[in-house]
Amino acid sequence: MVGPIYIIAVALGLAFVMGLFGKSLKNLSEWAMLAGLGFMTFVSGQWLLEFMNNTRAVETIFTAGFKPPYSINLQMGIQEAFFTFIINVVGLLGGIYLFKDLKQTGPNAMMVFLVFVMSLNVVVMTRDMFNLFVFLEVGSIATAGLILLNNNGNALQAGMKYLIATGIISSILLVGIIYAYYFSGSLNIDDILAANLGASKVTVIAVFLIYVSVLLELKPFPANGWGIDVYTAANPGIGALVSAASASASLFVLYKLASLGGAEWLNYIAIIGGITFVGSNLIGTKQESPNRLLGYSSIGQIGLLTMIVGLSNILGEKMIFIASGILISHYAAKAGLFWLSGIINAKDIKGWAALRKSPFLLFLFGTFVFALIGFPPFPSFFGKWELIMTLATGGHWAWMVTILVGSFIEGIYLFRWLGYAIKLDHDELPDFKIEWNKIFPVWIMAIVLYAVGVYVSPLTEGGMFINYLPLMFVLFLFAIDFLPIYIKNTVSIGGIIWYMFHIYPVLENDLLRLIFAGIFLIGGVLTLMAGYNKKGTRKGFYPMAMMMYAGLIGIIESSSMLEFFFSWELMTAGSYFLIIRGKRSLPHGYSYMLFSIGGAYAILFGFGLAFASGFDTSLAALGDINILPTLAYSLLAVGFMTKTASLGLHIWLPGAHGEAESDVSPMVSAILLKAGVFGLMLLFLYMDRASAGANNLWYVLGWVGALTTLVGNMSAAFQEDAKRLLAYSSIAQLGYILFALSIMTHLGWLAGFTYTINHFLFKAILFLVVGGIVVKLGTHNMYEMGGMIKKMPFSFIAVLISIIVIGGIPPLSGFAGKWLFYNAILEKGWYFQGALIFFSGIVAFLYLYKLIHSIFLGQLKDNHRTVKEISAWILVPSYILIIGIMIFSAFPHWILKPIETMIAPYFSSQALMWDGTKALTSYGYWDGTTIMIVVGTAFVLLLTWLIVLSAKAKKIEQFNIVFAAERPFRPETTHVSYNIYAGYKKALGFVVAPGITIFWNVVSTFVLEVANWFRRIYSGNMQNYALHVVLYIVVFYLIALGGF
């Protein structure tokens, strides 16, 4: 074992020796520094390993051989080992990263660098107050020195500001230390903590001064302009160190001193942390410069950690886990991002589009962003999960809201940034060099994130059950991403089929899950089949698609809330990447993500309440939420409804589905939306049916569903873009399902299931076929199509059958849904909602006609005269689905009977009886098979009759039409499609006025305006910043001690 004192000794010694190196040894100094950092990392790592194996007790080192308070002592426990280790690691990696920059500036800079890392080590380890002060000062000065590595005016200014601000802070700290020494008689931290200075009104001044200075070191909002400027002006390599290492050290100082003042002071710390978290992220939304944005994000994350330290009494023993989870994510992601920023070297976050040139860097960037937001499988996900659960247990709603709101705001800018990097149109992407020493540290950090994530997941309650098998498959697909499409496609389909066999025995007795597993997996296979018609390698598509399917199937498999939420987030991430692949998908993927994380946080809140009710992590806990049950259920419902795109939360859907790639649209529409339906079903089944709150919720949701249907259908009728039309149609169909489920009767749920299955079948067909046509014709606009029936007869038949199903026209299966609806509504007594639903059902005919007419009928256009039928790889899955529709239509009892038996136990009365193929309710009856036979026979007879009568009919061309004795000149001016429902829009268009879009626009504008207003604080003026610090101290004093 090497003693921790050698960390300091080696660093100081090397720094000293380096000064003596002459010119001849200049090259050597660089390697010497790295060796020194490596040694420091080794020492701390060794200690950490020992502590983790529980083979060692806490080690205290006395410098002068005396016991404190007579000398300075250092302590090496697991926490110190952890912090020094991460500081030294980032120091080492930073050293590698800055290899060339340091070489240019010479040994002096290396000395400063070594001293900087060393000082942070001491700050972590020391148990002496004055020593702490000294090394904080050393650290500050070293930081300022490092900032000046960037040899320009901005850096100079920033360094000066930093020095002045830290000067003020350390002078206050010094006064505080003097007071503390005066009151406690010792400089040893343990002694000072034991003196309980917070208890007395006289001694409390020491507590105040120490706290305020330590907090100011953490750059609290809004007195942190000087800190922000450091991030902006310094070399990103230095920014990484400041963000990852300095902040960790400062945080540890705060942690060390947490018990200095007592519980009341912890509250203040938590509040300051919360304000910083929310406020800093809020301003982050207005940032365009990557380094500055990262600065705000850093400060926000540190604010969150400050808050967690402040909440340590509430969090209890979970605090270490939560804090380290979030800290590691912040540490690795932020260091990685700063380093990436150094590689890209763009002034504006829009310039990060250049990242697209290197898929690996893009992958790293995505990893860091998702880790920061707290997506699985990163440690921050588990940290946040535990944080919310623990807070909920104690009933701290305000803190939960603060954390979720802050995280959401962080998502706003991070995903905008990610979106720019992936998608933004950029005329000329700036070149950047990738050097091994710069890329290596970034990789290490990403690996750290994944490894730690997987390592910590079993430490959470229920986390050990998480199924990493699908994720392994995703990783495998990443590994073979360079292969051509057909191999990856086959592998993916094979994987899904294998998983089908794997999962079937598990779900065999659970029909609800089996149905959804069927929709997800069979749908997955069919939609993936369409991928065979693409060419090239299609980089990144398959891992992401599989990630979505992994999430979807994880939702089905999950038995605990954590697993559910884990899979939910996984699915969101995967689908985000799928959606944003579309050509014009940038804004739509972004709004999808915002709604999704908003919804996910609502779900998280609900889960928190559920957990708090019975300390049960299984999904069954949703069954007996006794803390704020109505709020919990509403939040959960809202969370799921963001995925089902119900009215008010639907505005992301049309763009996201409409602009997605041709085979992604069916995935995200026919399949992904069902995840929300599954969530709602689970929720509704678990809810307490007797409570008034639940019944009110269902009543409201019923109306929401009915209105969603109306608005969705009517908006669809006014679309000119074929895929957007289908997207609005999805909104409406999901409205039907929401309504049917909210009825909460046997018949209602049967209708809901029928709609779910039908929607899966026909929407997959429609999006596949229409998507194929859109690609083939090169336009989304229906009025630019027309006459395709002659070129694409198979597509026409597929679309025709689908629209017959959507319309609910007998004899196809859509009618089953309508019939069940009528009966369910009459039984439930929701007559007016029902009338609204039926009205919107007829409105659906408007868009159905528009769709099929504008694309397939009417006039064939000049440039489409040579177009051929769409790819067989799209038609085959469509026709497989059509076979499904036909079976469901002719033999509905095959599917409805088992469903009915399954849901019967949940509802008091079994309202549907079967008499052979005939379904009976107390109101009416319906015999799908007979209707099919009767209609089929009659149709064949009539067709024969007409053929006999007009067998000789002569086929004529498209302009041989009656045109008021004139002739058509161009197909474009003869095809009636654009704004075809103008009269209807005049009469009822007010229903679809974009009120909800306007509402969300106002909300987002308001948030950005607030951010903008706050941003004005940061004037960049040194005096102002100094004033902020002083004012902050005064205000804090007045609040904490002044009796405010």
């Binding site: 083939k776 000049d862 005269r865 177009v867 061309e957």
Partner: protein
């Protein structure tokens, strides 16, 4: 009537009056290839009309009776005589009694009343409408102008003899004939149909070249296919 081709109907390589909308054009297909469009060939059926032989015997007699009793008139007034048609639906004349009804589209009409003078411009539309009517179809020519040009006989822009352009079943002389005369014309037409003598649609098909040459002689910008289906 002897129908020799008085004026030679010559197929010219380059049509001096080829309307711009009939010129060949090339457009870019979505897959990047160039599509050559020949509007007249691609958008119109180029086939000539065929003679459609009547059935024989009592079946045709019965069908002719039905056709005679169900005359659907195309609502297309070509000249000043069209003002004489609306009175037919008033109580005073009430043509519905005789199974005569108005239809708004040539596809569903059998009878075309050329009501008065025809300028060249209108003739073009009249020919198009006539050709779009399903066979068997009949033409009633109303007023002197259709017979010999009437008071416009020496106008530079109105035709003199309708039967040189489309075959006429019944002429009703006068300037203008009153609605009663028109009703009498219908009666005459019914007689002809029942007697199986109103086969002018086949006549038109048989002498198609002659009619076409006459039509093309005066309709200079022939922006339609040779036969409108």
């Amino acid at each position: 009537m002897e129908k020799n081709n008085i004026h030679k109907f010559e197929e010219l390589d380059v049509d001096k009056f080829l309307a711009p909308e009939n010129e060949k054009r090339s457009v870019l297909a979505p897959d990047g290839s160039i599509v050559e469009i020949d509007p007249l060939k691609d958008y119109f059926c180029q086939d000539r009309p065929e003679e459609l032989k009547p059935r024989s015997g009592p079946v045709e007699k019965f069908l002719n009776w039905a056709r005679a009793e169900s005359l659907w008139v195309l609502g297309f007034g070509t000249g000043c005589g069209s003002i004489e048609i609306p009175p037919l639906v008033t109580p005073r004349f009430d043509m519905y009694r005789y199974g005569v009804q108005m239809r708004p589209t040539p596809r569903q009409s059998n009878v075309f009343i050329i009501s008065g003078y025809l300028s060249v411009k209108t003739l073009k539309r009249a020919i198009r409408s006539y050709e779009q009517m399903p066979s068997p179809k009949y033409i009633i020519a109303l007023g002197s102008c259709t017979i010999n040009g009437g008071m416009y006989w020496d106008s530079y822009n109105t035709i003199n003899r309708l039967d040189h352009y489309i075959p006429v079943d019944v002429y009703i002389a006068g300037c203008m004939p009153r609605p009663e005369a028109l009703l009498a014309g219908f009666a005459k037409l019914k007689e002809l149909i029942k007697a199986g003598k109103a086969e002018n649609a086949n006549e038109y098909a048989r002498n198609f070249d002659w009619y076409k040459a006459n039509q093309k002689k005066i309709i200079k910008d022939w922006n339609m296919p040779d036969f409108n289906w």
